[in-house]
């Protein structure tokens, strides 16, 4: 019994290690690649560097352009998250709380957005953004990203809001609390887990978005980091060690954001935030 148990556990452990290695190996190669020279990357892509060169990381960290890209990405990502959370939660609150004519149809229409591929929309998006005079601004990225995140956000929020007990609203309503105040005072504070989940999703997606910024941003002043990374790609030579060091430094904020939000997600799942 115990022997079979042990074997099963070992098997499970091995399987998890394999799965984890799929994620961790490229990540490790990226981090280590930043310490190698270009020649060494070509001969020894995965192993430890023969000499730990820190000057590549150093040169990126001391480059003001890097910090500007990072700042742009941060503003755009946080802007997308905040806008998605507020508009998505408000829309989902209406769908969850209020029964009105055509609400199901409207909801289905909003969900259609889930099936719409981003790349297909890129040309009309560019034209629209240009017509609105937003090219080369943060809004050119924030607004379309928010629009494309809303479908999923509304779907997740509505399911969560619908689970808040109906009597909670009724009790607050008798206390003199209307729909709008209930949204701010009850729905949002009680929905931390789902807000964190959707927020992380939107943040990471925005952080890593390449196509949209590439199309709507032309000035180096407003470049996000994936665009900034392109400066290491020459016509004939790609500076892989600098690229890898750059990637390592730029994914750090996304990981930090995820870890911070993860704590809320876990707390929300285990704490029973809604149970009165």
């Amino acid at each position: 019994m115990t022997r079979g148990h042990l074997a099963r556990n070992l098997l499970r452990l091995a399987f998890l290690c394999i799965v984890a290695s799929f994620v961790l190996a490229p990540m490790l190669a990226t981090v280590l690649g930043g310490f190698k020279t270009n020649a060494e990357i070509r001969t020894n892509a995965l192993g430890l560097p023969a000499i730990w060169n820190t000057q590549f990381y150093g040169s990126i960290l001391s480059d003001p352009a890097f910090w500007r890209y990072l700042g742009n990405s941060l503003v755009i990502s946080i802007g997308s998250v905040v806008l998605t959370l507020i508009t998505g939660a408000a829309a989902a609150y209406v769908f969850a709380q209020i029964r009105f004519f055509g609400s199901r149809m409207l909801f289905s229409y909003v969900l259609l957005g889930l099936m719409f591929p981003f790349a297909t929309a890129i040309l009309p998006l560019f034209i629209k953004v240009r017509d609105m005079g937003l090219l080369d601004t943060w809004w050119a990225v924030i607004l379309p990203q928010t629009a494309f995140s809303l479908s999923l956000a509304i779907l997740l929020f509505r399911t969560f809001f619908a689970q808040l007990p109906r009597e909670l609203f009724e009790a607050a309503y008798i206390d003199g609390c209307g729909y709008v105040r209930f949204f701010w005072r009850f729905t949002l504070p009680l929905s931390a887990p789902i807000l964190a989940t959707v927020g992380t999703f939107v943040f990471v997606q925005s952080w890593n978005n390449f196509l949209l910024p590439l199309v709507v941003l032309n000035s180096r002043e407003v470049f996000t980091w994936p665009l900034g990374m392109m400066q290491f790609r020459g016509e004939y030579v790609t500076q892989w060690n600098l690229t890898l060091a750059f990637v390592t430094l730029t994914i750090l904020p996304a990981i930090v954001f995820f870890l911070a939000a993860q704590k809320y997600i876990v707390a929300g799942l285990t704490g029973g935030a809604v149970k009165g």
Binding site: E167, A171, A172, I174, G176, L190, V274, K275, G276
Partner: protein, 336 residues
Amino acid sequence: MAEVTLHNISKSFGGLTVLPDLNLTVPDGSFTVLVGPSGCGKSTLLRIISGLEMPSGGSVRIGGTDVTFEEPSKRGISMVFQSYALYPHMTVAQNIDFGLRLAKVPAAERKARVTEAARILALEDYLDRKPSQLSGGQRQRVAIGRSIVRQPQVFLFDEPLSNLDAALRTQMRVELAQLHQSLDATMIYVTHDQVEAMTLADQIVVMKAGRIEQVGAPMDVYDRPQTAFVAGFIGSPRMNLLPGTAIGRADVAQVGIRPEHIGVSSSVGTWAARAQVVETLGADTVVYAKVDQVGDVTVRLPGNQRLKAGETLFLTPEPQNLHLFDDAGLRMEDPS
């Protein structure tokens, strides 16, 4: 303090009529209990009084003012829910305080009122806790506290004790009765538990399928049920409802006799019966017996009477305690 008057209230949900046409007066300062089986419309009626539901027709008056189209918070009512509906992210003090803050009551007065409510309900030590850190009884007290601080004219209770265990329910029942005495406010209380109805009420309203079957003081309803339904619903164990032929009356559709109004003898009596199940409750012994040609009869005896299942008994209903009902289930005033 206020009287609540319901005038020709009706309510339909889509094609389903829950309340056909209902009139009721709840006297000022009374403790009125709406009681009836599940789905009889008692909760809907309470929600109409509270303003959470709009009636399809008719009017609601509280303290002489027509509040039919008034917001719940403007009606001078407060409501305690079955699930307590405490605000999970606020402390006990904030829960109690919330309605006052929305009503923009000055901070000093708010604090005084919360302290007073906490004192009445023995919640002083728990004011800083969150609802999840409280027991069921304490949560129910917070819910009640939330309604007292608003100093409403009318308190509404929607089955407030059904989520509590039996011992706590008895205790909270006593506390509610004391609260009613000390606050001297009008209270309307919905329950399907007829023990709560009998013990708490000044006025019982028995409902069935959206209609009021009888309104009256508990003992009036108990002693003189106006319909066969009320007779069977109020009282535990249930009143025996037997065919009229059981007492030799062909003109009577049903005859009711309470279990405690049946005499038992081992030798002589009106009905020969066989005891099928004997429940010894301590103070009482309840016998479920079968009488040929009549049906199942429940008898309640003092606890010192020892009987066994399978024994033959002779039962004699007390003639002065018979309740006679006609074909429509209405009481017949015919004591002869």
